[in-house]
């Protein structure tokens, strides 16, 4: 008690900015995760060395890595790994841009006005549970087999998460903050610009993160549509020629890219909304 008081007198203003350091006896989660992956890799290597499974079904790690190097250098089905990757990323980001441009205003309408909610809520609820493979044929019939169709398929899958997250962000704007701005003389436009948009931003970014995950996993389906490049297309082709090591390599690359995208969006979050969850 007396100690607290002394501290209060000596430093009445400054909140100490010490982040909690790793507590003694805390579970080292990262270490455990790392060990899990290491064990998995070791088991894979062992089964390959002992030839427990024919390499047509499960190629050795070394073979997969070899293909990684080979495809990166020489390419597979007329394109290098980097070109396949660029094609896939290009589609996913084009789709993301489209989904944001369409989805954020729709989410805004749902969150901010009963009329908007009445119009768009049912549409999104109908669209949301349909798997991409189900609407794929229709998209081809309507838009052909060109690049726009592939982007559209990914964008449709990304739309619902962005709309829903935006709407919930808009709905969750603190009444006190709205009132505070109104009492400072804010007009309706200024309220949107200075309070509603920034309030909803963390939620929109969460939606973008979920959408990127969804979009990336829709990729293989989208690249079934007469693509000539892309990671999904590469895996498809490899599967037809029974080149299992390229299939496995492609799967691992897709997983690694998904992981990197997740890390990227977390960086963007830390940069754009460092205050999220703190105030």
């Amino acid at each position: 008690m007396s100690l607290d008081l002394a501290e209060a007198v000596l430093a009445p203003d400054e909140p100490t900015d010490h982040r909690p350091s790793r507590k003694r006896g805390a579970v080292p989660v990262r270490l455990i995760s790392f060990a899990t992956l290491a064990v998995l890799l070791a088991a894979w290597q062992v089964s390959a060395s002992l030839a427990l499974v024919p390499s047509l079904f499960l190629p050795a790690p070394a073979a997969v890595f070899g293909q990684f190097v080979a495809v990166a250098r020489d390419g597979f089905v007329d394109a290098t790994l980097a070109q396949h990757l660029a094609a896939s990323l290009g589609r996913v980001f084009a789709a993301l841009t489209a989904a944001i441009v369409v989805g954020v205003p729709i989410g805004f309408a749902i969150g901010a006005s009963p009329v908007g909610r009445g119009i768009f809520d049912p549409l999104i609820e109908i669209l949301r549970p349909i798997p991409p493979l189900a609407y794929l044929p229709l998209v081809i019939i309507w838009f052909g087999i060109g690049e726009p169709s592939k982007i559209l398929i990914i964008a449709i899958a990304m739309l619902a998460p962005i709309v829903i997250a935006t709407a919930s962000g808009v709905r969750a704007v603190a009444t006190d903050r709205l009132n505070a701005a109104r009492a400072l003389g804010a007009t309706r436009r200024q309220l949107v610009r200075h309070v509603v948009l920034p309030s909803a931003l963390p939620s929109v970014l969460t939606g973008v993160r979920i959408a990127l995950g969804t979009g990336w996993s829709t990729l293989v389906a989208a690249e079934l549509v007469a693509a000539s490049r892309g990671l999904g297309f590469m895996i498809q082709s490899a599967a037809q020629f029974l080149v299992t090591d390229v299939v496995v390599m492609g799967i691992l690359v897709i997983a690694a890219v998904a992981f990197a995208l997740e890390a990227l969006i977390r960086l963007v979050e830390r940069w754009l909304v460092p205050w999220a969850g703190k105030a």
């Binding site: 505070a180 009492a183 400072l184």
Partner: protein, 256 residues
Amino acid sequence: MAHLAIESVSLRYDDGPQVLGGVSLDLRDGEFLVVVGRSGCGKTSLLNLAAGFVPPTTGRVAVNGVAITGPGADRAVVFQDDALFPWLSTAENVALGPRLSGIGKAERRRIAENQLAIVGLEGLADRPIWRLSGGQRQRVGLARALAARPTFLLMDEPLGALDAMTREAMQELLVEVWAKSGAGVLLITHGVEEALFLATRIVVMAPNPGRIVKTLNVDFSRRRLAGESARSIKSSRDFVAMREALLDAIFEREAA
């Protein structure tokens, strides 16, 4: 002379019970009006009416004889849980009012630094507000309200979340700021001593429906401004006597 008038106002949220019944209250600039009363008796509702956040069910709220239709920059509000904007820096929070009215960047910066100095936060202009302590945030909320140069300053338990020592320092700050700004202040509190120390007039409210049951004129804040120390005021005989009278007023109705 500016004049905020709450004229025989009653209030009902949707089809709930009557929250306020026939309340009339005047606030003039230069006045420090403090509202006390038990939890749930309608103090915040009264402030929300004065701010224009909710319309009265019957009666009217008027500024200089003209009925208000909503919030306005002439009536600044300090909220109990500060309601600051975490996406803005401390200085940007303080200068939001000037920004909304189209004042330029350099001038806003000057206003913000000036107000921050007044509330004792010089040097914190560029801190993100989520790196401030509770007491600092409360002061930023006050600085933000003052930067709008309001005619009336409405505060809902602005010192509620503070520890005893910070609270006393803030009380002195409020008296100073009030005297300097010349604004008409309406402040809600649960603290009886706080009410006496700050107010020029105290109104006591009672619930079901919320109404004013007693009005007291006091002048301890003027004694503070004349130079008497806070300790000496709070331990003076008339302060203690007033405190008992005020406590009686608050609890009388409860016993009845």
